[in-house]
Symmetry: C2
Subunit: 173 residues, 2 copies
DNA sequence: GAGCAGCATTAACCTATGTTAAAAACGCAT
DNA sequence: ATGCGTTTTTAACATAGGTTAATGCTGCTC
């Protein structure tokens, strides 16, 4: 857990109230954030103003816009606290530097990226092959606690449908 | 390019004719494959028999089922040659071992995983926020050559729609 | 160049989800 | 408990995409 120590010791702890934005789509933000506690949502807003949620971020996960962290482009999504949250911010470039110096950090980075890739693959699978109803049932099964905490609106935006459609799904025969 | 050498020298070269399956959904397959040349598709088949394409794999990319490679579960998708293809197969566990021994290999693995995560993120974004028409236009823009080579059916399965719907999209006003 | 196989298009109808708007339920502050 | 703002549900209608089946096109093979 060398990486954990590095981030906790050298990172900057930031507090965000419910509703506060950590970064916004279009920002330059070269940090990654470790969630000490709280709950957040990462979401896209399309040109027409429609919001869709990429993922919910819980305690002890790491989040950041890869595009922005790698300095390839501005953030592709926004990050907002759904509950009062404490994050530790750490420059991604520094993480990559450290990973070049320390074998064990490099290994931890590999593990984190593998975990990320697995999660993204599961999400891609669901979006590509399941109906909204099936995706909703999956989410309830995978994380019932989370479903209880969220508004219908945020659940719907995560599933890629509207709150109206979600309400129909929940009450259909 | 230490990793490249490792794979080319110690991996096993395999030839697949058009239509041949490299591995099938449900298989145990702990290898990753480097595509020396050719074109392949990675796809899911649902319980009801519907096929959806996860990605097309071109020359010089690396492909494998992460779930299977990490020995967490059987392959979640199948891999099939769309053209006669030459792949070099390499055990994923060995790659992780080597990456523990060599800093530069570990760094290359990080780079590959970062690239993979970026690609998955783009795909997730498209599936979540764009209509089938927009996804089709994106694909044409991003890789017109690929679009020319594929059948309408495979393009549709990649977009998450049917060939009938794709035909409508192409010919609509 | 006739016949066949595989792919692409078209048409008709069906279903899931979107949109808008109104009504109902809930949750908090006083 | 009352009232207000927010969230959820319901309803009515619109649209994208699915399903099935028929038709048309392309390129082989003989």
């Amino acid at each position: 857990m060398e990486l954990q120590n590095l981030i906790t010791e050298q990172g900057v702890r930031c507090h965000f109230e419910k509703g506060a934005q950590v970064f916004k789509q279009g920002d330059d933000c070269e940090y990654i954030y470790f969630v000490e506690h709280g709950l957040l949502k990462a979401f896209y807003v399309t040109a027409s103003g429609k919001e869709t949620i990429k993922s919910f971020i819980k305690q002890h996960s790491i989040i950041g816009s890869l595009n922005a962290a790698l300095r390839l482009a501005p953030c592709t999504f926004s990050l907002e606290a759904l509950d009062s949250s404490v994050l530790i911010r750490f420059p991604f470039s520094q993480l990559l530097e450290e990973s070049k110096r320390s074998m064990s950090i490099s290994q931890e980075v590999v593990q984190i990226l593998l975990g990320l890739a697995l999660k993204k693959e599961r999400r891609e699978f669901e979006l590509l092959t399941l109906s909204a109803t099936e995706r909703f049932n999956n989410l309830k099964r995978a994380d019932p606690e989370l479903v209880k905490k969220l508004t219908q609106n945020d659940i719907a935006k995560y599933l890629g449908i509207t709150a109206v459609a979600l309400s129909r799904i929940k009450h259909q025969g």
